[in-house]
């Protein structure tokens, strides 16, 4: 019997789901937001490949260049845009290729005192996606078996099984999966399951012009990400940190993890996500206790008195 079936580190969720030992290796995304240029090619490629509808009438959100707003039933990649005012001297020491105010290459504003006290704009851009959790709450709570672990270790909805109960939606600690209103079913990123089977990378990773979205075997991606963080720290970007890479986190590590330049919640991520089913044994114990107490209470009501 496998340990950590509900939470905690789990080496091989694919095998735990019942696939034979010779199953394909677990694949994932490493999204390095330090080189995202906010082009949204991932959003477009995802929509095109997966034949996803527009989310609604064209609308301006007012949230910088982000008019997609968030992940949803028809949006499986979402590029977040964050504009931050930072003191000019706190600008990253390394030119990350970010667009900024002033003419291109005009980085020689430093120098005298007044300029050092001026504020500058820092851009953070990040392409969000389903995390394909090691312990996926959506999969755990799905009552029909529509949500499955695939042979590649990813999490996918089987549309012909889903009955639209909607349980997966509030179960997801990242707010990824959603219901398609006129269809009733739940939808999310499949990591391009139809491409994986043919040995192709997902559409978003293929379209990404800067390799901000990297696709590959999860173990390899984790190594590469650790090197990248180290490199950025050495180059004077101490705020670089990984998010979702750690198998000992609350979801057993994400199949899609990130390199961020600020706290996770700034990008709309939960700072310490936990798979809700970690607490399910305790929940059932409390419910059983309350049910027994209810039975006892009803029985007492029949004992305590003649009428």
């Amino acid at each position: 019997m496998t340990d950590n079936r509900l939470a905690g580190p789990l080496d091989d969720p694919t095998a735990e789901a019942g696939y034979p030992a010779d199953h394909p290796e677990r694949v994932g995304f490493f999204t390095d937001t330090s080189i995202c240029i906010g082009c949204k090619a991932c959003e477009v490629a995802c929509k095109e490949w997966n034949l996803l509808e527009a989310d609604g009438p064209l609308d301006l959100s007012g949230n910088s260049y982000d008019n997609t707003v968030g992940l949803g039933a028809d949006t499986w990649r979402h590029v977040a845009f964050i504009e931050q005012r930072v003191p000019a001297r706190d600008k990253p020491q390394v030119d990350l290729g970010m667009p900024g105010p002033g003419p291109p290459g005009g980085t020689s504003q430093g120098g005298d005192r007044d300029d050092r006290d001026a504020t500058d704009v820092r851009w953070l851009m990040s392409s969000d996606v389903c995390k394909h959790c090691t312990h996926a709450a959506c999969l755990d709570v799905c009552p029909t078996g529509a949500l499955i672990r695939t042979e590649h270790g990813t999490v996918m909805v089987q549309d012909d099984i889903c009955n639209g109960c909607g349980y997966c939606i509030p179960a997801c600690p990242y707010g990824v999966i959603d219901q398609r209103p006129h269809d009733g079913g739940a939808f999310k990123c499949t990591m391009c399951q139809d491409r994986l089977g043919d040995g192709l990378a997902p559409a978003c990773a293929t379209a990404c012009p800067t390799d901000s979205i990297q696709f590959g075997p999860l173990d390899e991606l984790r190594e590469r990400a650790a090197q990248r963080v180290e490199e950025l720290h050495e180059r004077g970007v101490p705020e670089a940190r990984l998010y979702g890479h750690d198998p000992s986190d609350g979801v057993g590590g994400d199949g899609a993890f990130f390199l961020l330049l600020d706290e996770p919640e700034v990008y709309g991520f939960p700072p310490d996500p936990v798979v809700t089913t970690r607490d399910l044994p305790a929940m059932w114990r409390h419910a059983a206790g309350a049910a027994l107490a209810a039975a006892g209470g009803i029985a007492l009501a029949f004992l305590g008195g003649s009428r």
């Binding site: 109960c165 939606i169 919640e265 310490d272 409390h286 029949f302 008195g305």
Partner: protein
């Protein structure tokens, strides 16, 4: 962060960062009144079935009758509400396609399906007089499953990332069990001279419902605020008033059991209170899902506590 409109802040707003104040998690797409009704009716049906089974065993045919009818109607309407809430109602039988212990909705469906069948069989026998022995067996079976019916729905809500529900997982089943006893007892008040046990159930249930809800709001930290603000606070205030009035009515009836008006009124108030409690809890969960504060702040506190316990892990 700016104080929000229409709320009087008792404590300073917690400092936190978010992405344009967007929710971190997706609020449930479950509909009102479908899901609150499903929660309430399931509890009513469960406790009514147990009440009917014990009434049968102790020779109280009138109480057995109202209990069986309430359990069958409650279970049927509960299933109806659940199906109506599905995005694809024609596939409701997919609920029984697998049995999944990690899904409270799967476990619940496997409790609800046999319970509903047994309760319906018991009520059919009661109303037609056909096969009373089999009716008693069915009624006893429904009565045994009844307590599970009163609390599995609490696990269903708690097993989500919704802060006001998940954090309340120790208390929610107690609230739901108390509320179920209050509503079933309220129905049992219609049993006239045999209503004694129902009256005691009603008073006990109302007391537990009121006490446990209060305790829940106080003991879960920041998400408790979702129960004390906005629409949830208004609804829960109404629920408290209804349940308290119904409970007092049931209590008064112990002295003057003859008054049918008091009994009917108390029963109505208790059931309105139980239904309103479920709606208020549902609404509190929705509020806690919509506001990123309830997701981010407790998780930040958790990280800070872990960082304090193990300073080496503090840095990313």
């Amino acid at each position: 962060m700016n104080p929000r409109r229409g709320e009087r802040l008792m404590v300073p707003e917690a400092e936190f960062q978010s992405y344009y104040d967007q929710p971190v998690i997706k609020p449930p797409v479950w509909k009102v009144p479908d899901v609150p009704a499903y929660l309430y009716l399931g509890g009513l049906a469960g406790a009514s079935a147990s009440m009917a089974a014990l009434a049968d065993a102790t020779g109280r045919p009138s109480l057995r009758r109202v209990g069986r009818i309430a359990s069958a109607l409650g279970a049927t309407a509960s299933v109806g509400a659940l199906i109506h809430d599905l995005g694809r109602p024609e596939r409701f039988l997919h609920m029984l396609r697998v049995f999944k212990p990690t899904s409270p909705l799967s476990v619940g469906s496997w409790i609800l399906a046999p319970f509903g069948s047994l309760a319906a069989a018991g009520a059919a026998s009661e109303l037609t007089g056909i096969a009373p022995r089999l009716g008693s067996v069915a009624g006893a079976g429904a009565g045994l499953l009844g307590p599970a019916m009163t609390t599995y729905t609490a696990v269903l809500l708690a097993d989500t990332a919704v802060p006001a529900w998940h954090e309340a997982h120790p208390q929610l089943p107690v609230v739901f069990a108390g509320s179920a006893l209050a509503s079933a007892g309220g129905v049992g008040l219609l049993a006239g001279a045999e209503a004694g046990p129902a009256r005691r159930m009603a008073v006990l249930g109302a007391a537990v419902e009121l006490g446990a809800t209060e305790l829940m709001e106080r003991s879960i930290g920041l998400p408790g605020e979702a129960y004390r603000t906005g629409r949830a606070a208004t609804v829960l205030r109404a629920a408290r008033a209804l349940t308290a009035a119904g409970g007092v009515g049931a209590l008064l009836g112990m002295r003057h059991p003859g008054s049918r008006v008091t009994s009917v009124l108390s029963g109505l108030l208790l059931n309105a209170g139980a239904a309103t409690t479920r709606y208020g809890i549902f609404e509190a969960g929705m509020q806690s899902a919509r506001d990123p504060k309830f997701t981010v702040v407790p998780q930040r506190q958790r990280l800070a506590e872990r960082g304090a316990a193990a300073p080496d892990n503090h840095h990313h």
